[in-house]
């Protein structure tokens, strides 16, 4: 769920653009030629996945999958998500002025998910990829929810309750994204493990 234009204040908009520029510069250092299409693929899939709706008791919600982007692309995921946000704004879904805030919100979540995903090297347990995949998916969304709430609260105290509702909503999203990301990681592990960041194919063929 991205934030629309016209909600957050000037300083929040400026901070969003500033942090986005820093993160983009930091995560795109020494990018190789063959990575350009790879990042674009994940951006496009991330964009398309926004159209997958899941029915919930009263409403339907759509997948965000920024955690999965982190698991697949590693630190380059920030760029993928930033471009997704940019395209969304260009396509008339709103959000031109909050490209920065949205990038930090979703892209930052992807980076955190990558960090969580990398932690799997420190433990040994069965199915650890699936467990850490789920955790990465859930943490990615949790981070986004926190940033969104933070952006609302720093804009004005009028948004206090709205921010609390946003956090509550993201707890539900966390469960859903965690389950989908975990299942997806499990599937990729069986079929094409080298797609996952830092995961070489351990079985021949």
């Amino acid at each position: 769920m991205h934030i629309a234009d016209g909600i957050v204040s000037g300083p929040v908009i400026a901070t969003g653009f500033g942090i986005t520029a820093l993160l983009a510069a930091a995560t795109m250092r020494k990018v190789e030629l063959e990575e350009i299409p790879k990042v674009s693929v994940v951006t496009a899939v991330f964009f398309v996945a926004n159209f997958i709706h899941i029915p919930l008791v009263v409403a339907s919600i759509h997948l965000i999958l920024n955690g999965l982007a982190g698991v697949i692309l590693g630190k380059r995921a920030f760029m993928a998500i930033m471009l997704g946000v940019v395209l969304q704004a260009f396509f008339g879904f709103g959000g031109v002025s909050v490209i920065g805030v949205n990038s930090v919100m979703l892209g930052g979540g992807a980076l955190l998910a990558y960090g969580v995903w990398q932690c799997r090297h420190f433990v040994s347990m069965p199915n650890k990829e699936i467990v850490f995949g789920s955790l990465a998916g859930a943490m990615g969304i949790f981070f986004s929810g926190c940033i969104l709430a933070l952006a609302l609260v720093t804009t004005g105290e009028a948004f206090m309750t709205a921010a609390q509702m946003v956090l509550g909503y993201h707890v539900i999203l966390m469960v859903i994204e965690g389950a989908v990301t975990g299942a997806c990681v499990g599937f990729l592990l069986k079929t094409k493990p080298d797609l996952l960041s830092g995961q070489s194919s351990n079985k021949a063929g």
């Binding site: 000037g10 997958i52 999965l68 008339g92 997806c184 990729l188």
Partner: protein, 262 residues
Amino acid sequence: MSLDIDRHAHVESSIQRWDPRFKIASLLLLILCLALVKSIPLILIGLFLSIGLLLISRIPLGFIYQGLKVVVIFLLPFFIILPLTYPGETESYFIGMPYAIEGLRLATLIVIKAIAIVLTAYVMFGSRRFDVSMTALQHLKCPPLVVQMLLFTYRFIFLFLAEMRRMDTAMKARGFIKKPDLYTLKVLGGFVGTLLIRSFERTERIYKAMLSKGYQGELHTLIEFKSEAKDFIKAGVVVLLAIVIFSVDMTTVFSHAEQAWF
């Protein structure tokens, strides 16, 4: 769903003839100024301005309605949440619940602002072919890497969307129904995984084809931009309006006038 923002790029208008470099730069400034407006009368002026630009661009309104619908539906809850939760005491009541006018004002401001900005975005990118707009972005010192990735992604989105629809049909044909349970989520995980693998394998082929045609990390284009006096004048008018809106908002004239309303 109107993902092909440039569907009506062929429509002749003075916005379409405008040099995209000047158009994008000046309209971006206008959008930023609109995003910072804090009073309703001023943002109404902004809204009329964006509607005016839209009418000049002659992009069909039915096309814009689709995108606008999504934005407005997303923002409607604010009309309920903000007035009910606005901090402080209030005297006005609505069906027995405290209903803060100030919260309603804020919600109205947000929705008008969002609409004005979305309309301006349509004018900005809907009036020329997408690749032309992206080339213009590159001329505006946007990193070539970013522009290339945007163009790649733009190409892929339509491919993957078609792929996704096909897979969706296949799942439905096998009797899969989405329900709010863990099984559905697991299936969707596999769905996304399959989509990823197919997309990666497909783009690997595209990439190899590009390499064999001499791709070295640069996109060469025949698109050239010529700017005339007219382009400067159009950009000048928009920049001037943006600055006027911004500075009038800074003087808080309208905000004070607004206080008298409530």
